[in-house]
């Protein structure tokens, strides 16, 4: 096994190993560790091997195996269940544009990774597929909603895996599994052919990786705009790989240890982000303590409404497709509760106001990003929870705890700003902690450059201990 996707592709190119050997090795790992971790929920091993045998596109990641999340992206021939019984067996007929770009880069899609129902949880324990386990400790959650992807990468099943992030769903599992996770700018990665719901501007697709350079390269390979995309991120001045490899200029970094919503932040988590801040200072950056300067209530109400209205639309379209009414066992209790709540209360004006609210929050945080180039916060305010803590069968628990785990991350979704989580040491239980960095729209290059600098100053373990 190689350190990352770029190293894997280089080994294949040099003839040290064949693409078939690499893909077979990944399949072997998924077959061996898959059942314990429950990271992979659909596979296409035979077809993947046939693709390898018939010749892969000569892209820069030729022969690198990968997995796509069971939410938001389509792989032809595989079901897209969205972690929901309502979509069980919804087999796709075409690849999403992003999947097509992965393939054009030479990557081989082996299957789909587990997601909580419609991504509505910071843990990955859908009733349909059961919980994914954290490779660092099987009693713990891998985070969510890209928890299957995070578990697969941190257990070394594949070097990189696709994820998406509508409230922290790339960054939270990256933090929980000790990986690098970048949520790109709004509009950076096309969702074609799935036209955006109102949630589309909030969520972004990219990958969870072991190295920063893999994330940069995959962003270059997958982020050029699709003609007609409704949102477009600022064009990068140079390729992301180049930006990632160039030492950043002296950055003004605002260090945040308190939540905008005033909720609890564990001292272990604060200590970890302070260590990252100290490292940034050692590297010559200017770090200054600050508080997040946006209206947390406004952000939450706008965000929740946009997510709620998109949930309503998705469910209604699915029911229309199936030609039936909603049944009691279609949705998990928590999803059902949100669904029914919004169905009863949602007004058109509320949707209008929600769009205005996220724009206001964008300007509020944007003003702070004049003073600071980047904002550094914890990724999760609390240590990684055990499985069962975020229990979607108990709506009252989810209502109470659900917002905790995305309290630092969701604002980047509301504003469309790029943000990343990078490993920041371990907690007292030996599980990974993450440092979260937000930049203004279009600043992925700066984020990647800082990440590379931190990665080489204090390299992190990229695999969970029992998978090294």
């Amino acid at each position: 096994m190689y350190d990352d996707a770029i190293a894997t592709a280089a080994a294949i190119r040099s003839g040290e190993v064949s693409a078939r050997e690499v893909v077979e090795d990944a399949i072997g790992r998924i077959e061996k560790d898959g059942p314990t971790l429950n990271a992979v929920v659909a596979e296409r091993f035979e077809r993947a091997l046939a693709e390898v045998d018939s010749g892969l596109p000569a892209g820069p990641l030729q022969g690198v195996p990968t997995l796509v999340k069971d939410l938001g992206m389509q792989v032809a021939g595989l079901p897209l269940t969205r972690g929901s019984r309502l979509w069980d067996g919804d087999v796709q007929t075409v690849d999403s544009e992003l999947v097509r770009r992965y393939r054009a880069a030479g990557m081989v899609v082996l299957g789909m990774t587990n997601s909580p129902e419609l991504g509505k949880n910071a843990s990955t324990e859908p009733l349909l597929h059961g919980p994914t386990r954290n490779p660092w400790s099987t009693a713990h959650s891998p985070g969510g909603s890209s928890g299957g992807a995070a578990a697969a990468v941190s257990a070394g099943l594949v070097p990189v895996a696709h994820g998406n992030d509508g409230g922290g769903s790339i960054r939270i599992p990256a933090s929980a599994c000790g990986l690098f996770g970048l949520k790109p700018s709004r509009g950076r990665v096309t969702t074609y052919p799935v036209a955006g719901t109102l949630a589309a501007p909030l969520s972004a697709n990219h990958v969870l990786t072991r190295s920063v350079r893999d994330s940069a390269l995959l962003l270059d390979l997958s982020s050029f705009p699709m003609p007609g995309d409704a949102f477009a991120a600022p064009t990068p001045s140079s390729p992301f790989v180049e930006q990632a490899a160039t030492a950043p200029l002296r950055l003004r970094i605002g260090l945040v240890t308190r939540r905008a919503d005033g909720g609890v932040v564990s001292p272990e988590v604060v200590a970890a982000v302070r260590r990252t801040a100290a490292l940034c200072e050692e590297l010559g950056h200017v770090v200054e303590e600050t508080e997040l300067a946006y209206d947390a209530d406004l952000a939450m109400s706008g965000f929740a409404t946009l997510m709620g209205v998109s949930l309503l639309a998705q469910v209604q379209h699915r029911l229309a497709e199936l030609g039936r009414e909603l049944r009691d066992d279609d949705l998990e209790p928590f999803t059902r509760m949100i669904h029914d709540h919004y169905l009863a209360t949602m007004t058109p004006v509320q949707v209008y106001d929600a769009n205005a609210a996220v724009q206001q929050v964008g300007w509020q945080l944007g003003a702070q990003l004049r003073e600071f180039d980047l904002l550094l916060t914890p990724t999760l305010p609390l240590p990684v929870p055990e499985l069962g803590v975020l229990d979607t069968t108990d709506p009252s628990v989810m209502w109470e705890r659900g917002g905790d785990y995305s309290s630092f991350t969701a604002v980047a979704n509301a504003t469309g700003m790029p943000a990343m989580s990078l490993p920041a040491g371990l907690d007292s239980a030996g599980l990974p902690l993450g440092a979260h960095v937000i930049g203004d729209l279009g600043s992925e290059g700066t984020l990647l450059a800082l990440a590379t600098q931190l990665e080489s100053a204090a390299p992190w373990e990229t695999l969970a201990p029992s998978y090294r």
Partner: protein
């Protein structure tokens, strides 16, 4: 404050010259020429600061205002401990002697009717200092600027070459034992072959007399060679202040990069000499009018990276690398001369 920031000033060091928020405006019939709009700079003892910028950006206006010839519209100039603005005529003359100006056109700077031996001590005569040692002193001075006293002592300016005239001007400036020498395009009117000699002479003089120097020019190569630190000006504002070591590689401001891009490369140098006539930015559009400079960042009308923010908000100097200060909202570390970039850095697939 009207300037583009003071982050580059070294307030914790001993400085021979400090210029604060210098503004030079010229009232004209149809408004006001904003020649220099809030320039801040300082000079350490023995240091050479290069001021670089294309024609009309306000370099000479700044240099003259520092000398109080004429005094600036506003702002202050400290020479050592002495604040020059508002000095009485006699004190001003005394202070000015500690700071000497060397100009672009040496021939017209010299009185055509006087002989070299008189010209070099003109400044001293005003003070009545040099009566006794006059002849030996003149010969020493002429020797120190590389002239043979025997052959030039009795000559008048028209009998000398441009380079020799500039040597006389430099000797004249050195005669007053100044602390600061302000050179405004001192080699621009000279043949390329003579330029290097004069630059060497200035460099030697700086070392020998412990001078600090402000060296104004529009030629990147000239400024870079002689300076410790370079300040890049555009339309009366400071864009970037950076060490001259590694300038081509490190420059970050889009305007500095434009200046560098218009310097003939090694390959072009065979065809056309890197002459002073190759005006930087000559390929680019006209300089906007200093009567009505653009809002926000003055460079924005020519900047490939300009955004709305650049029109709305003036960028301030920020230290982006140790010792490098840039006034730009969108500095980009990957914007370097591609021919200088380390190719291994950009290789996404290093074989390891």
């Amino acid at each position: 404050m009207a300037g583009s920031g003071t982050a580059h000033l070294r307030t914790d060091r001993e400085r021979s010259l400090v210029v604060d928020d210098l503004v030079v405006e010229f009232p004209v019939t149809h408004g006001t020429v904003h020649a220099v709009s809030g320039l801040n700079l300082d000079l350490l003892p023995g240091e050479t600061l290069g001021i670089l910028g294309e024609s009309g950006c306000g370099k000479s206006s700044a240099g003259r205002a520092v000398m109080q010839l004429p005094p600036p519209t506003s702002g202050s100039v400290h020479l050592g401990e002495v604040e020059l603005t508002g000095l009485k005529a006699r004190e001003m003359r005394r202070a000015r002697a500690r700071m000497q100006l060397v100009l672009q056109d040496p021939v017209s700077a010299l009185n055509p009717r006087r002989k070299v031996k008189d010209l070099v001590v003109e400044g001293l005569e005003i003070w009545g200092w040099a009566e006794r040692r006059r002849d030996t002193f003149v010969d020493e001075l002429l020797t120190s600027v590389g002239l043979d006293p025997e052959s030039v002592r009795e000559k008048r300016p028209h009998e000398l070459s441009g380079g020799q005239c500039q040597r006389v001007c430099i000797a004249r400036a050195l005669a007053l034992d100044p602390e600061v020498l302000i050179c405004d395009e001192p080699v621009s009117s000279l043949d390329v072959s003579v330029q290097a000699q004069i630059l060497n002479l200035l460099e030697q003089a700086r070392e020998r007399y412990g001078l600090s120097m402000v060296f104004i020019a529009h030629d990147v190569a000239v400024v870079k060679n002689i300076s410790d630190r370079v300040l890049v000006m555009y339309l009366g504002k400071t864009c970037e202040v950076l060490p001259s070591d590694g300038l081509e590689r490190n420059a970050l401001h889009p305007y500095t990069r434009l200046l560098l891009a218009s310097v003939p490369s090694e390959a072009d140098a065979d065809r056309a000499p890197a002459g002073v006539e190759a005006a930087p930015g000559s390929k680019a559009v006209e300089l906007p009018s200093p009567l009505d400079p653009p809002s926000g960042c003055r460079f924005r009308t020519r900047c490939p990276l300009a955004t709305d923010r650049c029109a709305a908000e003036e960028p301030r100097l920020r230290e982006l690398r140790p010792g490098q200060f840039v006034a730009c909202h969108h500095p980009d570390p990957t914007l370097a001369d591609p021919t200088l970039a380390d190719p291994t850095l950009a290789d996404p697939t290093p074989e390891e």
